[in-house]
């Protein structure tokens, strides 16, 4: 690498080299660094540096990306790995500790391990006790939130991890040495001398340098001289550094905004320096600054020479080892488990009665033909697993699944692992690889450069328990969850900029409202000069305060520059990374407390762990569908009086396929989106492979390439097809000549050209631009094509045909989807559909309690009603914590947790106290539970307390109204939620867990409406309409009936000429129609043409209607979508035999407004205007 670098033409100022920047922070120095490692590497390379250090504050987050960027840099840039470590020392007793940083650089892999262990020690690895009390064992061995935000290492811990590290004493003026000697008087100076002596003793005299850096602020030269003098007196060499926090001078603003945000203060941030000189200064600039200190420049070059290229990550030695099984023992264990599992999966293969040729008469058709075939496949897979050293990884995955089984937690596999018969035999994956024509080499092969991984879906509610037990078992060698490098969205950037500029919380909320998270390229019209031109011209931002661009010019500029910057480390809660064989994890990567009690996080990003380090991670992903199925299964088991496993439904159930074919798929995993509903209606699924195809086809790639239409037409016999060569018939016939799976591409390539399946996987990755660095340019693709055709011709395939097949592969290959992944999902889709077909009440209860999909509880409940399930109102004495099933499985009752604002503790209190004796009055409820007076208002409004209005204390026929119950509250002493623990409100979350109101791509939705609905005026009369409105506010549901269902609404809607969504679906092509509906979601997906398009989903009494809104209509009427929650839509019906149904909207009006002109009008109790 260095030799190549020497050949590179350097700019003129490179003659000042070999100075190297040794103190460089990237954006991974969260809270003040602004540049990515890649930007710093590119910048340094442009300036002619041949090496560069990365020394982020208290972390190694960016190291993998930094190393990868250096290796990619043309001509090479030698990486130096280090970190800036915050140290806390006591100068005087009973006075606050002094904090400052030291820079540590690794000059060997041992030094790298020392650094990882040191950071792990003080960033909160379980069991470490901070010397200076940053956190204690009394706090559960975890740092406090402030300890996590501003970590600091004590000197003793530092000295214990000094092996093979070079120590710089910190930049002037905030480094540890300058802080001690410049700001702490005589005692500080004494401590500084002690520090220098101690560091030299621990790190070695040759490894300690006094750092000189010039931020060019007032007094900087004087401070440098003072520090230099101390170094001279103690005989410690000095080193010049640049102290980098950003790439360009103008980025100092961003750095300061990030610092202010980190400290939750307006500008200026604490320890503010009025400078823009912390940028990556050129060799010439540095040489001029230190022209009178050549020895300091020389030291920098010497240190760079010692450290550059010393740290290299990755390699095959990074694979984990299962507890108790090392080397040959692990292999034996895996073989044993595989054979045992195969006996259960393939019992026929192990029967003794088979014919002489080894054929198995009892085996299912299409599975495999002989025991020999199964044995051969298992041997081949195990051979590859052992060659690549993955036996430990498989055993750990199996152990995770076993823990789940022991805890009765649903678990299934997903992803390419389902290509493996071994994984299937270990019961990690569901699809049967022979029958589904799955190809092991798609999962793993000897030529694959990045590690394959096994993804397990686990019930989302119980996932943490499984993960916790697995982590406990591997705690000794080290296990952690992966980090994610979070970046700022545009909306987040507006928030950050507004707060730093001193706007109040309320003003900040107002400024960030409806700001898009990101401006996509496809939204950027030619005339728009900035992303704000695009954002502010959107109907969603009509009347927005940011339209005053002159007033908010600085905020807009800052937000634009902040967007996309690294903001904080997140946690990939499911991605587990284990210690490589014979090592501790903390020697390979730095670990830290994640913020979740007991959960240790690796500082490296999840993608870097696999891509750069080559460490496979085990994903334990929380899947709400499993939670939904588990809950439904429990209810069904209770009803049937025997255990029912919802993940093992009877195969090929006709009712299940009939439900899927009907397109009424709300609540079915992966098949419930409007597009999938339409696809399933056209596809006509009759077997599991149809569902698999549906899952694979409904992806952005195949949709934009319009691969769906030919598949549907051929599937239904409306379009003839033939495979390019008869040799490929068995591969392509199952998908009607379409190439939709990556495994098909590999099989075709291998069959035709004779290349191995491992080589065909490389071809697939080249065609799809997949990972592993195999993606290539046009030249590489041409070479691949030539090789493919030559080989095929060599095997007797006509050249023209070979070219045709290659073109076929290339055309479809990029959109291919893993059949294994699609099949894994299809099995879950089938299971959820089976539950909905046969046990609708229990299945809908599961969906309402787990909320796994894209629809709001309101729509799910209405869907249940449409399918004949009776909806029972909330009841203080009958409602369970969640939705429950009554009436022999024919009715659903609303759960207490749906009451807005009610805490978990209050729900528990109600359930316990009502078991002792029923509540007789509002005062009784208030007195015996932790329910607050505010909760009481919601409980009454939601209808939970209607029973108390008919209580035993009242006379015959006497009923107290909700209004009278509310008046009872006035007589009670005001009771607010205290600070008692366990009072958290039960959140009605958006499925994606977004905290900023509306979900991505859906600026207006049920979720947003519920967040924004106004507080009710208690004095209002409780008319039927008020009751409905109030129930919606409290529960987010329409319990009694659909809002558009009553006669008076129908009259009004009829007067407007509204057609129901059910009728619109069957109107002829070209018909004009008017629809009315309540907002469910608004999305803007990518399109083939690149032109923006919006899909509005509304619901009326008959069901959901998806409408299409083109750009012109959106610009004219789109603002209504953000100002109201129920609409009147004028449009035309399009019925295309190829593409199916669509309703193209031409005009949008707010429904309330439209109804206001109708005699005897009524209001719709939904929407922001409600």
């Amino acid at each position: 690498m260095r030799e190549a670098g020497a050949l590179k033409a350097k700019p003129a100022f490179a003659s000042f080299a070999p100075f190297a920047h040794l103190h460089v922070r990237s954006g991974f120095s969260y809270g003040f660094g602004t540049a990515t490692p890649e930007e710093l590497v590119a910048g340094a390379s442009r300036m002619g540096y041949s090496s560069l250090a990365l020394t982020d504050r208290d972390g190694m987050y960016g190291v993998p990306r930094f190393l990868a960027a250096c290796s990619r840099e043309e001509g090479g840039l030698s990486p130096i790995v280090g970190a800036e470590v915050t140290i806390e020392v006591t100068v005087q007793l009973r006075k606050p500790c002094v904090r400052g940083h030291l820079v540590l650089l690794a000059y060997s892999m041992s030094g790298y391990a020392s650094l990882c262990k040191l950071i792990t020690a003080y960033r909160g690895y379980r069991g470490y006790r901070g010397y200076m009390g940053a956190w204690t064992k009394e706090q559960g061995g975890q740092p406090s939130p402030s300890g996590r935000r501003d970590p600091a290492c004590d000197l003793r811990a530092l000295l214990e991890h000094a092996e093979d590290l070079i120590c710089l004493t910190g930049a002037v003026p905030h480094g540890l040495l300058p802080r001690l000697m410049l700001g702490e008087g005589t005692e500080g100076l004494g401590k500084a001398r002690y520090l220098l002596a101690t560091l030299r003793e621990a790190f070695g005299a040759d490894n300690v340098y006094v750092e000189l850096s010039d931020d060019e602020t007032a007094g900087s030269r004087r401070r440098i001289r003072a520090v230099e003098e101390l170094a001279r007196r103690h005989g410690v060499p000095t080193v010049a550094t640049g102290e980098v926090a950003y790439l360009y001078p103008e980025d100092h603003r961003l750095s300061e905004v990030l610092a202010a945000a980190r400290h939750l203060s307006p500008l200026p941030p604490p320890l503010y320096r009025p400078t823009d000189r912390l940028y990556l200064r050129s060799p010439g600039r540095i040489a001029r600054l230190f022209h009178d200190r050549p020895e300091a420049l020389q030291s920098a070059a010497e240190i760079a020479g010692r450290c550059e290229g010393a740290v290299r990550l990755g390699g095959n030695s990074m694979l984990p080892e299962a507890n108790g099984y090392a080397g040959a023992e692990a292999r034996k264990r895996l073989i044993s488990l595989t054979i045992r599992g195969a006996r259960r999966r393939y019992p026929a293969a192990f029967e003794t009665s088979r014919n002489e040729a080894g054929a198995l008469p009892g085996v299912l058709p299409g599975v495999f033909s002989s025991q020999a075939e199964l044995t051969k496949r298992l041997k081949r897979e195990l051979s590859v697993i052992f060659t690549l050293g993955f036996e430990g990884y498989f055993l750990i995955a199996r152990e995770a699944a076993e823990i789940a089984w022991e805890m009765n937690v649903p678990v299934t596999g997903r992803g390419s692992a389902a290509n493996s018969v071994v994984a299937h035999a270990l019961h990690l994956t569901q699809p049967e690889p022979f029958g589904e024509r799955l190809v092991f080499e798609r999962f793993m092969n000897e030529k694959r450069s990045d590690p394959p991984d096994i993804d397990l879906d686990v019930c989302s509610e119980l996932r943490d328990g499984v993960r916790g037990e697995l982590m406990r078992r591997y705690e000794k060698s080290g296990v952690a969850v992966a980090a994610t490098a979070n970046t700022l969205s545009l909306r987040g950037a507006v928030r950050m900029a507004a707060r730093s500029l001193g706007y109040t919380s309320k003003e900040t909320d107002e400024l960030a409202r409806n700001v898009p998270r990101h401006i996509r390229d496809r939204d950027q019209p030619d005339g728009a000069s900035s992303e704000w031109d695009v954002a502010l011209s959107s109907p969603a931002m009509r009347g927005h305060p940011l339209q005053d661009r002159r007033r908010y010019a600085l905020l807009l500029e800052l937000a634009t520059k902040l967007e996309g910057r690294l903001s904080q480390a997140g946690t990939h809660t499911g991605g587990l990374v284990f210690a490589p064989k014979g090592m501790k994890l903390s020697e390979v990567a730095s670990l830290e407390a994640s913020g979740t009690r007991g959960l240790v996080r690796c500082q490296f990003d999840k993608d870097d762990i696999e891509g750069v380090l080559g460490m496979p991670k085990l994903d334990l992903l929380g899947l709400r569908t499993h939670t939904s199925l588990r809950k439904a299964g429990e209810l069904v088991s209770k009803k049937l009086g025997r255990r029912m496993d919802p993940l093992s439904p009877p195969p090929d159930d006709r009712e299940t396929y009939r439900l899927i074919r009907s397109g009424s798929t709300v609540g079915i995993f992966q098949l419930e989106s409007p597009g999938q509903q339409s696809l399933q209606r056209r596809l006509g699924a009759r077997r599991i492979s149809d569902i698999t195809a549906g899952v694979a086809l409904f992806r952005p790639g195949p949709l934009t390439a319009d691969m769906v239409t030919p598949y549907v037409l051929r599937r239904n016999g409306l379009e003839p097809y033939e495979v390019p060569l008869k040799e490929l018939d068995d591969i392509l016939r199952p998908t009607y000549g379409c190439l939709i799976y990556q495994e098909q591409l590999m099989s075709v390539a291998s069959r035709l050209s004779g290349i191995t399946l491992a080589e065909s996987d490389m071809l697939r990755r080249a065609m799809t631009g997949g990972g592993g660095g195999d993606g290539g340019g046009a030249a590489k693709m041409r070479a691949l094509a030539r090789r493919f055709v030559d080989k095929a011709v060599g095997r007797g395939v006509p050249s023209e045909k070979a070219r045709e097949v290659y073109g076929f592969l290339e055309g479809f290959g990029r959109y291919g989807f893993s059949a294994a992944h699609a099949a894994s999902f299809a099995h879950i889709s089938y299971a959820t559909a089976y539950m909905l077909a046969h046990h609708p009440a229990e299945a809908y209860a599961g969906v309402l309690n787990a909320r796994p999909g894209m629809y709001s509880p309101r729509v799910i409940l209405n869907e249940a009603r449409r399918r004949g399930v009776k909806i029972l109102g909330p009841n203080l004495h009958l409602s369970e914590r969640e939705f429950s099933v009554e009436g022999d499985g024919r009715a659903l009752r609303v759960g207490l947790s749906y009451c807005r604002g009610l805490s978990k503790r209050a729900v528990s209190d109600i359930l316990i106290e009502r078991g002792k004796k029923p509540f007789v009055s509002v005062a009784d409820l208030c007195g015996r539970t932790s329910v607050t007076t505010g909760d009481l208002e919601n409980l009454i409004g939601g209808g939970f307390l209607d029973d108390l209005g008919r209580g035993p204390g009242l006379g015959q026929g006497q009923v107290r109204t909700r209004r009278e119950l509310i008046s009872d509250i006035q007589a009670l002493p005001r009771k607010k939620r205290g600070s008692t623990r366990g009072q958290e409100e039960i959140p009605i979350e958006h499925p994606e867990g977004t905290s900023e109101g509306s979900p991505e791509g859906s600026p207006a939705s049920w979720w947003a409406l519920r967040q924004r609905s106004p507080v009710r005026e208690l004095a209002g009369a409780f008319s039927a309409e008020d009751r409905e409105r109030e129930e919606l506010r409290v529960l987010g549901l329409n319990v009694g009936s659909h809002p558009l269902s009553k006669g008076r609404y129908h009259n009004a809607l009829d007067a407007l000429g509204v057609v129901s969504s059910g009728e619109i679906l069957s109107l002829a092509h070209g018909s004009r129609a008017r629809a009315a509906g309540i907002l469910e979601s608004l999305q803007s997906p990518p399109t083939k043409s690149g032109r923006p398009i919006w899909f509005l989903q509304t619901e009326d009494t008959t069901g959901l209607l998806q409408s299409t809104i083109f750009e012109g209509v959106y610009k004219r009427h789109g603002h209504v979508l953000y100002e109201s929650g129920a609409y009147l839509l004028d449009g035309r019906v399009e019925q295309d035999p190829r593409r199916g149904f669509s309703f193209v909207v031409e005009k949008i009006r707010a429904l309330d407004e439209a109804l206001s002109v109708v005699p005897n009008k009524v209001g719709i109790s939904v929407g922001m205007g409600a």
């Binding site: 910048g43 007094g219 400078t275």
Partner: protein, 76 residues
């Protein structure tokens, strides 16, 4: 002027609503022949600093129109 005692840059207060409160200048502290010590500032020092590399060989000498050394303080 006898000698330049010290030189530094000041960049700050850019977030202030009032432009007069933001600072962006090069400052030199000089000893004058009568023994007085004065701070002189060159406003507009950033002009030359906004280059592609973030560096400028002349970022302390170039200025915008109307820029000049100004007396900004006297040191006791």
């Amino acid at each position: 002027m006898v000698r330049v005692i010290e030189r530094w840059r000041e960049v700050g207060g850019w977030w202030e609503q009032d432009d007069n409160r933001s600072v962006d200048r090069l400052v030199i502290r000089v000893e004058l022949s009568d023994g007085a010590v004065a701070d002189l500032a060159w406003a507009g020092a950033r002009t030359g600093a906004r280059t592609a590399t973030g560096d400028s060989s002349s970022d302390n000498t170039k200025g915008g129109a109307g820029d000049a050394w100004r007396l900004v303080g006297l040191v006791d």
